[in-house]
């Protein structure tokens, strides 16, 4: 069959299936990521072919991975009694994990027994002996996977799955529902899954959570990893829905954007190279290697010295170029149409060159006049303190 046709066919079937399910007070996990739909497609296709002879029935394929914070990617799934199941467990975490399916009601007992293995645990893959454990993988490292192929129990019930590495089992578990109807309780009332997974729409409620024990009022900043800057980045949110990223590694403004500030949801979980995500449109990006040139001697790598919080709560960055202290302050333009970059170089004895990147998106102004090249040269006197405006063109 044509794959595309098949997909559309199934998509419609799923839609019908979901609608029907809602009415019947049966729920699918809508929190499941799009990729998981592959597994669900197969699942649905199996459900829709109940009269097909067992021998010809394709195994139900389930992909299980690991999310940060000791969680299985699927908090629960459904299989039919006696169904052929092919469950692929891939450890996508930086910690070791295993995957056990146990008899109904036996999760806590198995976890305790696994813990009691103590130093023997690793040799046994943290799997305690006895018949409470139905199927299990070995201990898997980051990136390793194992497929469990089995025939689902004939007896209907809720079969817990769990990772039994020491301590994990108390939080890292889920539920395999075995029944012929496909019925699972509403996820927010499902006590067979971890409390933090009992959310109807996981992943959409972050914005309502408070990020800090205080109200955020611009200007404020985060030292964080951001795409498009070096690792020692400082992201600053300004009033008027403006933000910029200043890089303490190279001592310069890297880019500025308009809109919301950052989404730190992923980076605050702290795993797998997450980055703060910029929630806006970048209107300026600095391509020049060096922004300030002082004197005629070859430029040393600027050295970052820190920042002070000055009037209004703005950070003023301090760095040293060729032995000369530079202070840089970036604020929003009053009309919100750009930013003003102010420099103080109190001990300046030479001329200073300020370089920038001309683009169509912004215009640069010095003392009210638009700059036409990509460099502004100032005498030692004028360069001691100067400001340039970056105005958005629109």
């Amino acid at each position: 069959m044509n794959v595309v046709v098949e997909f559309f066919l199934y998509r419609n079937i799923i839609r019908i299936f979901l609608n029907a399910n809602k009415k019947m007070n049966m729920y699918f996990d809508l929190s499941i990521k799009p990729l998981r739909w592959c597994a669900i497609l197969v699942f649905v296709s199996v459900l829709l072919l109940p009269k097909a002879p067992m021998a010809q029935q394709k195994a139900l394929e389930i992909d299980m991975t690991v999310l940060p914070g000791l969680q299985f990617s699927l908090p629960r799934f459904h299989v039919k009694p006696g169904q052929q199941v092919k469950l692929k467990f891939k450890n996508t975490d930086d910690m070791d994990h295993n995957f056990l399916i146990v008899k109904p009601g036996k999760r806590e007992g198995v976890v305790s027994k696994a813990l009691a293995l103590g130093a023997e645990g690793p040799k046994q893959n943290y799997v305690p002996k006895g018949d409470d454990v139905l199927w299990h993988t070995v201990t898997l490292h980051d990136g390793q996977s194992e497929v469990l192929t089995f025939i689902a129990p004939k007896e209907e019930g809720v079969y817990p799955y769990v990772c039994t590495l020491p301590g994990h089992g108390f939080v890292m578990y889920g539920a395999m529902y075995v029944n012929s109807t496909g019925k699972m309780p509403p996820i927010e009332k499902d006590n067979n899954i971890p409390p933090n997974r009992q959310k109807a729409e996981a992943g959409h409620d972050h914005a309502h959570h408070q990020s800090h024990p205080y109200a955020l009022k611009a200007p404020y900043l985060y030292r964080t990893y951001v795409e498009g800057a070096g690792p020692a980045a400082i992201a600053v949110h300004l009033p008027a829905q403006l933000s910029y990223c200043w890089d303490a590694g190279v001592c310069k403004l890297r880019f500025a954007w308009q809109g919301d500030f950052l989404d730190n949801t992923a980076i605050w979980k702290g795993h797998k190279d997450a980055r703060s995500v910029i929630l806006g449109d970048v209107f300026y990006r600095e391509d020049k290697r060096a922004v300030l040139g002082i004197g005629d001697v070859a430029q040393e790598k600027p050295r970052f010295k820190g920042y002070k919080i000055v009037d209004g709560g703005y950070p003023e960055f301090h760095y040293v170029i060729n032995g000369v202290d530079v202070f840089e302050l970036i604020k929003e333009l009053k009309n919100g149409g750009g930013v003003v970059r102010s420099f103080r170089i109190p001990q300046l004895k030479d001329q200073v060159r300020f370089a920038y990147t001309p683009t169509d998106a912004v215009r640069y102004y010095y003392e009210g006049k638009e700059l036409s090249t990509d460099i502004l040269e100032l005498s030692a006197q004028a360069g001691k303190q100067f400001a340039v405006e970056v105005r958005m063109s629109n």
Binding site: P213, Y222, R223, Y225, G230, P231, G249, A274
Partner: protein, 492 residues
């Protein structure tokens, strides 16, 4: 929550009032400190200010100050990146170790909020890898500061743009932690004059630094590749402490990729652990050590160390001694369960002697928040200390013990010995594990000491002593912690 604290305080006050007459029912009282609303209380650093207020740093970058009298939290600083270490200068000034740098944070205008963030040291590399945690600073008697830099994790990558020189020789195969920018996996010394000295290498995940009462630098390291089971090291200048990646930044290293060096050569080069924390028995992820000092109402353990532990609801106690010039010793659980949570990442001693524990999980096993441990006047029946003898061990107890009638000592005391592999593989099984025959049991000093006589004591072995159902003399108390594991680096 509040009522719980009130109740606990009441119990404790009563215990104090009656201290001369009556023993408290428990040896330790554990209280949970209320945390401010909206805070994700992943405790990254914890210290006390000279005025008795607690200062705590959190993984999302806040530093907050708690007044234990008023039970009020106040914000001090914001915007930091994973501030995992802190040293108090005074009420208005802190040295804070955050991911990109060591920073001097000051409140210069006295409004209670920090306004100056001065870079003290940022001369180490960063690759944007999530595991490039930074620890310390601790200060020795000469005023030198020590910080430690985590190796980068194979669970993450290397960003397109890095800070510092890139040297891919510091990367191994598979799951190896790596060091491709300067000083990842190193302890760095910063002198009072600001001179920076790469001090010691070979660390994997050194989430705990201490200068002890003997001015020794002690550092914990976490189980993983090249660390068969977690370690505590006595760190000295120029030492290599086992994880190969960081060797590429040693000025005397001219051998290319250290992961390609023979394991035997690396093994000869490395300093062996001062103490090993047996995995799944004592600790799986040890954190900050501190010294038990006078005023904590734990004088029976004075001078020993308490170390935090992430994975279980306990702390760990470390008993050190010097044998033929080598520092070594033993570990035993400390306050196991009893209401203490997991994730015990940071420890601090309050002016009143109570022990405050900051907890974190940050995607790993753990908990969040702060708990306070107060020792009562009830001395726990516990192993007080262990010393290595020529042909065995001397165990002392906090109280005299009695041997249950009809049994002999050999029925309730067992010793196993084993060691761990030094290899690239993540963690290690126990190697050559065997029962050790105890030839002689000699109770001494009114049954407060027990000498254990063995056939021989082997260097390089861990001796794990399990003591079952031992009763305190004339009391119903059984031994609080039943396992002591001694790492024999050097025999007597």
């Amino acid at each position: 929550m509040k009522s719980l604290i009130l109740l606990s305080s009441l119990v404790f006050s009563l215990a104090l009032c009656q201290s001369t007459r009556k023993e408290a029912p428990e040896s330790y009282i554990i209280e949970t400190i209320p945390m401010p609303e909206g805070l994700t209380a992943e405790v990254a650093a914890l210290e006390f200010l000279p005025d008795g207020r607690l200062v705590a740093a959190f993984m999302r970058g806040e530093i907050m100050i708690f007044d234990p009298q008023k039970k009020e939290w106040k914000l001090f600083a914001t915007g930091l990146q994973e501030p995992l270490g802190m040293l108090v200068v005074d009420e208005n000034e802190l040295l804070v170790m955050q991911l990109p740098e060591l920073t001097r944070i000051k409140d210069t205008d006295g409004d209670g909020l920090a306004d100056s963030y001065e870079t003290v040291y940022d001369g180490f590399g960063m690759t944007g890898n999530y595991h490039e945690f930074t620890y310390g600073p601790v200060k020795d008697k000469q005023g030198n500061l020590y910080i430690a830099l985590n190796s980068s994790s194979s669970g993450g990558g290397i960003a397109e743009e890095v800070r510092g020189e890139l040297n891919m020789d510091g990367k191994g195969q598979g799951r190896a932690m790596f060091s491709v920018v300067p000083y990842r996996g190193w302890v760095i010394k910063i002198t009072p004059q600001g001179e920076v000295v790469p001090f010691a290498s070979g660390f994997r995940s050194p989430n705990g630094l201490l200068i002890d009462d003997h001015n020794r630098l002690l550092v914990t390291d976490n189980q993983g590749d090249w660390v068969g089971s977690s370690h505590l090291y006595h760190v000295e200048e120029g030492g290599f402490y086992g994880h190969p990646a960081s060797l590429v930044w040693d000025k005397n290293w001219h051998n290319g990729n250290p992961f390609e060096w023979p394991v035997d050569s690396l093994n000869n080069l490395r300093e062996k652990p001062t103490v090993i924390f047996p995995h799944n028995v004592i600790a799986n992820s040890p954190t900050q050590p501190l010294v038990i000092r006078e005023g904590m109402h734990m004088d029976h353990f004075k001078g020993q160390l308490i170390v935090g532990e992430m994975n279980t609801e306990r702390l760990v106690r470390v008993m050190l001694e010097e044998v033929n010039g080598v520092v070594q010793g033993a570990v035993t659980p400390f306050i196991d369960g009893q209401g203490l949570r997991k994730g015990n990442n940071r420890l601090a001693i309050a002016p009143d002697g109570s022990l405050w524990v900051g907890q974190s999980d940050h995607g790993w096993l753990g908990d969040r928040g702060i708990q306070k441990i107060t020792a009562t006047n009830k001395v726990p029946f516990d192993v007080k200390d262990i010393k290595l003898d020529k042909d065995g061990f001397d165990l002392t107890f906090t109280k005299g013990f009695s041997v249950p009638k009809g049994t002999d000592l050999s029925s309730w005391l067992k010793i196993k010995k084993y060691h761990y592999h030094y290899h690239a593989k993540y963690g290690s099984d126990r190697v050559d594990e065997q029962e050790v025959v105890v030839k002689g049991f000699k109770p001494k000093a009114g049954n407060t000491t027990l000498s254990l006589q063995l056939d021989e004591v082997n260097e390089g072995s861990i001796y794990e002593i399990t003591i079952d159902t031992l009763l305190a003399k004339g009391q119903q108390d059984t031994l609080t912690n039943k396992i002591v594991a001694y790492t024999v680096k050097k025999a007597r």
